[in-house]
Symmetry: C2
Subunit: 117 residues, 2 copies
DNA sequence: ACTCTGCTTAGATGTATGTCAAATTAGAAC
DNA sequence: GTTCTAATTTGACATACATCTAAGCAGAGT
């Protein structure tokens, strides 16, 4: 056989797949989203008037302690999905729209090739 | 205070947030995606000619053993993101386009309210 | 200054997950 | 049937993660 031995099973690449670095970055954001509680929190924040909610709005409706909710909010915040702002006694959270939009754009044209759609 | 005591901090809901059941389902799919190796595998499969790739196409390029790749493929398969088909000696994987499309549709109109965009 | 409330941080614990080596199944070719 | 290769399954292990209790921090009001 020659130098380049194309195995019978293998098909050639038609596009360049996602890089290792980008995959790690995207996975980090997705990992922040991949939890039922955090999905509900994100949805709850977005469902509130003005697109923002205080923590007391978010703790009710969950069978979880305050610290656990706080932990999940921190994960979402560090992933860049939400922002926190203190106003007097209460802290308000709001969604970062750009973060979700970039995720949406990732699946439609990003991963699936035109041929497979 | 009266029967319904709207706390000063809280804002009303303008939309119904995601349900507990749906959140659990979506989180399961996202959890399958939230791994750098699995993201790269999915992208690699989609990048191959015809939108499918055999396992030997997928094991090269990773510093991982065969069983580990096999494990990740199983996770993706059980999440409904890819399909496997045996043809002779080799097993070919292909993306399930509908699964990714439903994810894309989840972020754009699903979570972020119109007011916050 | 003291206290009360809202929220976060720190530490501990049980469970889930990514990885590998070894064993197993499945088909092809002889 | 035997052997060889392709791919998965099993079992073990180390790390990561979700959750709780207890403690700490920050503003508001007295």
């Amino acid at each position: 056989m020659g130098v380049q031995d194309p195995r019978a099973c293998c098909t050639p690449l038609t596009r360049t797949p996602i890089g290792e670095g980008e995959a790690t970055e995207v996975a980090q954001v997705l990992k922040a989203l991949a939890d039922p509680v955090r999905l509900r929190l994100l949805s709850l924040i977005g469902a509130h008037d003005g697109g923002e909610a205080c923590v007391c709005d978010l703790t009710v409706g969950f069978d979880l302690t305050g610290p656990t909710i706080s932990h999940h909010l921190k994960v979402l915040r560090e992933a860049g999905l939400i922002q926190a702002e203190r106003r007097g006694t209460w802290i308000y959270y709001r969604i970062v729209p750009a973060a979700l939009e970039s995720l949406a754009g990732l699946f439609a044209p990003g991963l699936v090739p035109a041929g497979a759609r």
